[in-house]
Symmetry: C2
């Protein structure tokens, strides 16, 4: 039956984050109505990405090599710690950063029964010791779990004489105070700086 084949494709599109039935249907029709080469290319890109992209064995970044280009070429004395590989892409928009990364693959979350041993903290510790790291920048998300994880790691690393910093929290550039939430505003107020 033709509907089963279309439904199968719709079901696949529904597995994408935030995609409901209607959207998945639109995507599926755009494939069916599109050119053959486009569907081929699309399918091949999915397979190729899944087959070739793995995680860097040093930092956990996405890569098709054993060690990612960032780890190979940049200053290993500064490590920016993130929750997920895709956070590296966000951080990389800050062109001035020349250090390396470390992906935790999660945050400490008692609610979800995820403790310090379930994320890559041990690996971070040994990198800090082996590479004589000078600064660890905690760039986990500014939420309860991200904060708790940052605090936990700071407590372990500080006795080793490493500087541990946290991304500043405050109002976003270009945003409107009217829409800033209470917590963000209170953090921004706490961390206020002199204008000189």
């Amino acid at each position: 039956m033709q509907e089963d084949i279309i439904e199968k494709l719709i079901e696949q599109f529904r597995t994408l984050p935030g995609v409901g039935y209607k959207t998945a249907q639109r995507y599926a029709f755009s494939i069916i109505e599109g050119k053959n080469e486009r569907a081929e290319k699309f399918a091949d890109a999915i397979k190729e990405a899944k087959q070739k992209i793995g995680f860097c064995k040093v930092c956990g970044n996405f890569t098709d090599q054993e060690v990612c280009p960032i780890c190979k070429s940049r200053n290993r004395k500064v490590i920016c710690v993130v929750k997920e590989p895709k956070d590296i892409l966000s951080m990389e928009k800050v062109k001035s950063y020349n250090g390396v990364y470390h992906v935790l693959f999660g945050t400490i979350s008692p609610l979800e029964h995820r403790g310090p041993n379930d994320i890559k903290i041990k690996e971070l510790l040994s990198r800090v010791q082996n590479d004589k790291v000078e600064e660890v920048i905690m760039a986990t998300n500014p939420d309860v779990e991200g904060d708790a994880t940052a605090m936990y790691i700071a407590k372990i690393l500080k006795p080793l004489g490493v500087r541990v910093t946290r991304l500043a929290q405050g109002v976003a550039m270009g945003s409107d105070l009217e829409y800033a939430d209470e917590l963000t505003l209170s953090k921004a107020l706490e961390a206020r700086r002199d204008i000189d």
Copy 2:
């Protein structure tokens, strides 16, 4: 380079309707972070749909056969005329409809240089004559082009003694009058019916 492979996948997702860079990136990461089998299934579903699904040679519906199941099994005396194959899926939600369909693959649009000969009107005409059709329901979109196309086809078909009808236009069920546009309201008022 790993980024090229990921970028290639992101570019493919961007070809889907309404998908910008950020969304495409989220989709791509969900593939890379997901299981191998999921990526395989996804890619295969795309290829299979594109390879096997074509158009019914009678009505233009999506099908993996020469003639679609609707054309094979339903009342051919009533034809519902739609603009695109996917409109059939919408109409099919109305479980009570037992007639067949005809896809025009477009509407008459002087602005886009699309005349009556550029859409499947000739094919409709020969179906009406060969199958002794009793009613043609024009279900093109309720916009300028859809209306014009419906009028044009009605003019051709009426001399053949076929009843030509148009989907009723009015306020949508469950909608709020406050948000109904002028044109819809005026159509709804024009076509008002006695309550008995």
